[in-house]
Symmetry: C2
Subunit: 424 residues, 2 copies
C-alpha cells in the first residue's frame, strides 16, 4: 500500500518525538518538517526529511495528506492551518491555545472542506482523554469534568508540599529540570489550564465555550505556609480545571483549589495529569497519566495520525471524526454567579477585636465560617489569620472581602482560594 | 434521517439499562428484545418493543442492523451471533467469556461478512478501556496491562480489609447487596478475570491468546488474617489480571496479589475497577471507574452502538473497527516459567527447629527469604507462620513448597500468593 505523506510544522521537543515515532512506522513517510532555523542540529534522524524554514513548502505540496502541527503559537499557525484545510489536508495538532481560541472556525472550515482535524495531544498529554470524551462516553450526558491539567504547576505545588520549598524556589527548580518554560506565565498564571478546560467543556457540553469568558487565577500567590495550613485543615492545594453544568449555564474555570486529602486528585504528584469525568450513566471515571513530556505528547499526536490513517481510504469518512460541538459559542457563567467554600489568608494587626471584626464582616454578608486559625506574629506585629468558609456565593464572599480590606485591623489580604467539592 | 433498528438479546440488569438509554436516543429504534420468559415483568418501558422468547425472530428480521448481546453464556449465544454476522448484522456485545473463548473466530467471520463487532463493555464495565487500547495508544508498543478487573472480588477483599470480615461473611454480604451472584464461582475462582485479561492481552499484544493457557487462582483461600499480615508487611491483597511481554513470550494470568500499599491500585475500593497500561511512548496511564453495575455497563454498550451508528452510513467502514489482532492464537507462557516474590502462610508444629526446616527447604532451592513472621499458637499446638520471599522462579518456589509439605513439622500449607511488581 502506498505510504501516507506527512508534513510536520515544528521540530521542537514534541515535534522530534513525533518524527521519531513516525520514522518507525512503515505506513508513513515524513516528507517535510518546517522549522524556524533549518541549520540547527536536531536530536532526530532527518536524512529522508526535507527540512525547510518556509512552512508554505508543506502547505503547497499536494502530496502531503496529513499536516501535523506541533509548533505552538496562534497567529501565524492559524493562517497556515486554515490554508492547509482549504487545500484538503487533514490536520493533527497539539495546540490547545489554537483550538481553545479558534476551534469553532477551524472545525467549521474542516467540515466545509471535508477534512478531519484531530487534537488528542492538546489536553492531558499522553492520556487518551479527548477520545474518551468524544467516543467512549457518548451514551452519557456529562455533568462535570474536573482535573489536574497542567504538569508544570502540579510539579511546583508538589515540590512546595513535599520539600517545603517556596514558590520561587520550586519554580526555579522546575525550570532547571525542564518542567517549566523560561517564561512560565502561560502555566503559572493559569492560561494553559484555561485553554484546556475550555476545550474539555466544549466537548463535554457540545457547545464552543468562549475562552475569554473562562475565569482564571494562577498559583503565584500561594506560599508554602498556605500549603501547610491547608494540610492541617485536611486538604492539598492543586491547580484545577473545572467545567460543570449549573442551573444558570456552564460553569468553566481554571484556578487553584483546596482538594480534600482523601480525594484521588490530591495524590496526583509531579508532572502527572488526572481528570475526573462525571457522566449520567457511567458515574465517575478517572484517567491518569503523564500530562506532558516529549514522548507522551508524541504518543497522543501519532495516535491521532494512525487513527486518521486507518480511515483515510474510506470515502467520505470525515464526518465520523467531526466533534459533536455546536458551532454557536457559549459564554461561561460569570464567576460572580458561582458558589464555593473559600480559604482566605490575611495579615492583621495583633490587637484584640481582629477576629470579631472578621466575624462581623462575614456575618453581615451571610457568609458562614467553618474554621479559623491564627498563626504566629511577625516582627512587625502582624498576625497571619487563615480561615475556611462554608459554601457561599462568590458575590457574598467578595463583598465580605471588600469590607475586611477596609477594616483598620487588616494589614493585607494574602490569598483567597476555592475549595473543591466532591461530585454528589 | 431513518432510525437505526436495534435488536437486544437479553433483558436482564444490563439489557434493561441498554433499553432505557436507547429509548432516550432519537437515532435508534429498539424493535426487538429476546428474553427467556416473555411474560416476566421488566423495569423498563417496552410499549414499542416486541418481546420474544425466540431469538431467531431478531436474527431473521432483515430490518435489524445492530444486534446488542447482553444475555451472557456462550454456547447458544455463539451460534446466534455467528448467524447474525452471516446475515450482515453488526454486533455489540458485553460478553467477555464469548470474546475470550471465540474472539478469533468471531472477528474472522465479521471480517468475511464486512460487519463490525464491538465489545467495550466486556472489560472494565463503564471504563472506556478497550477503545483506549485500540485507538488512543496506537502509537505505543504495550509492555504491560495490569489491573483490578472484577468488582465482586474487589468488593469482597475491600470489606475483609476494612471491616475485618472473613471471606464467607464478606461474600454473603456482597450477595445480599447484589455485588455477587448466587453462584459466585465465576468471580471468586478467577474465571471472570481470566476472560477479561485474555481479551486485554489479545488487544495489547496483537495476537489472540488461548484462554485455556491463562493461569488462574481464585480468592477463596484468603483469610482475614492474610489481609492483616499483608498490611503489616506494607501491602494490600487485590485480585489482579496481569498481561506482560517477557523474553519467553506472553505472561498472562489472573490471581490475587500483594500490592504495595502506596501503589494506586491498592487504593481502588469496593466495586471499582482500575487498569494500568504501560506503553513505549506514553509511559504509564491509569483508568479508573465503575467496573460493573447496570448503568455503567449499559453506558459502554450504548457508547459502542452510537460509535457504530456514526459510521454506519459510510461505505465499507467495517475494516476501520476491526481489531488489529492476528488471528493466529498464542499460548500464554506456562506459570512455571514465571517469576515472582511470594507470600506463604502455613501451619507448623510449635516446636524448635520449625524455622530452621523452612529456611533449609528454601535455601536448598535457591529461594531467598525477605521476611518471616510467626503468629500466635492455636489450641492444638500449631503455629501460623507467614513469610515473604524475594523474587524467584515459580519452579524453585514450587519445589521448596513440596519439600516443606513433606517436613514433619509442617501441619498444613495455607495459601501462597504472588507479590505485585511495580513497572520498571
Amino acid at each position: 500500500m502506498a505510504k501516507i505523506t506527512v508534513g510536520i510544522l515544528g521540530l521542537g521537543t514534541v515535534g522530534s518525538g513525533v518524527a521519531k515515532l513516525l520514522a518507525d512506522d512503515a505506513r508513513f513517510r515524513v516528507k517535510w518538517a518546517a522549522v524556524r532555523d533549518a541549520s540547527k542540529p536536531r536530536d532526530v534522524d532527518l536524512a529522508r526529511v526535507r527540512v525547510t524554514d518556509r512552512p508554505f513548502d508543506i502547505i503547497d505540496d499536494p502530496e502531503v495528506e496529513i499536516l501535523v502541527e506541533v509548533a505552538g503559537g496562534v497567529d501565524t499557525i492559524y493562517e497556515l492551518i486554515k490554508t492547509g484545510i482549504e487545500r484538503g489536508k487533514h490536520v493533527v495538532t497539539a495546540n490547545k491555545e489554537l483550538i481553545a481560541k479558534h476551534g469553532s472556525e477551524i472545525f467549521e472550515l474542516a467540515h466545509r472542506n471535508n477534512v478531519t482535524v484531530l487534537f488528542e495531544a492538546a489536553v492531558g498529554g499522553g492520556i487518551p482523554l479527548i477520545s474518551t470524551l468524544q467516543r467512549g462516553l457518548q451514551a452519557n450526558r456529562i455533568s462535570r469534568v474536573a482535573g489536574i491539567l497542567n504538569g508544570t504547576t502540579n510539579y511546583i505545588l508538589t515540590s512546595m508540599e513535599q520539600r517545603g520549598a517556596g514558590f520561587d524556589a520550586a519554580l526555579a527548580e522546575a525550570q532547571r529540570l525542564g518542567f517549566a518554560e523560561a517564561d512560565p506565565r502561560d502555566d503559572v498564571e493559569g492560561f494553559d489550564v484555561a485553554y484546556k478546560t475550555t476545550i474539555l467543556a466544549s466537548l463535554a457540553f457540545g457547545s464552543f465555550v468562549d475562552v475569554e469568558s473562562v475565569y482564571k487565577q494562577g498559583i503565584t500567590g500561594i506560599t508554602d505556609s498556605d500549603i501547610s495550613v491547608a494540610r492541617e485543615f485536611g486538604y492539598k492545594i492543586k491547580m484545577i480545571g473545572l467545567a460543570q453544568r449549573r442551573a444558570g449555564g456552564l460553569d468553566v474555570r481554571a484556578h487553584p483549589m483546596l482538594v480534600p486529602a482523601r480525594h484521588p486528585l490530591a495524590s496526583v504528584e509531579g508532572s502527572n495529569n488526572a481528570i475526573f469525568i462525571s457522566g449520567s450513566a457511567v458515574g465517575e471515571v478517572m484517567l491518569l497519566g503523564p500530562g506532558a513530556g516529549q514522548m507522551p505528547t508524541a504518543s497522543a499526536v501519532v495516535g491521532d495520525v494512525i487513527n486518521l490513517a486507518s480511515a483515510l481510504r474510506l470515502p467520505d469518512f470525515a464526518p465520523y471524526f467531526q466533534p459533536a460541538i455546536d458551532s454557536k459559542r457559549s459564554q461561561a457563567c460569570s464567576i460572580e454567579d458561582c458558589e464555593s467554600a473559600f480559604y482566605l489568608r490575611l495579615e492583621a494587626t495583633d490587637t484584640p477585636g481582629v477576629i470579631g471584626n472578621l466575624g462581623h464582616a462575614f456575618g453581615a454578608h451571610n457568609v458562614s465560617l467553618n474554621s479559623i486559625l491564627q498563626r504566629g506574629v511577625t516582627a512587625g506585629g502582624a498576625a497571619t489569620i487563615v480561615l475556611l468558609t462554608h459554601k457561599t456565593s462568590e458575590r457574598s464572599f467578595a463583598r465580605a472581602l471588600r469590607e475586611i480590606e477596609s477594616q483598620p485591623t487588616t494589614r493585607r489580604i494574602g490569598v483567597a482560594l476555592r475549595v473543591f467539592e466532591q461530585a454528589s
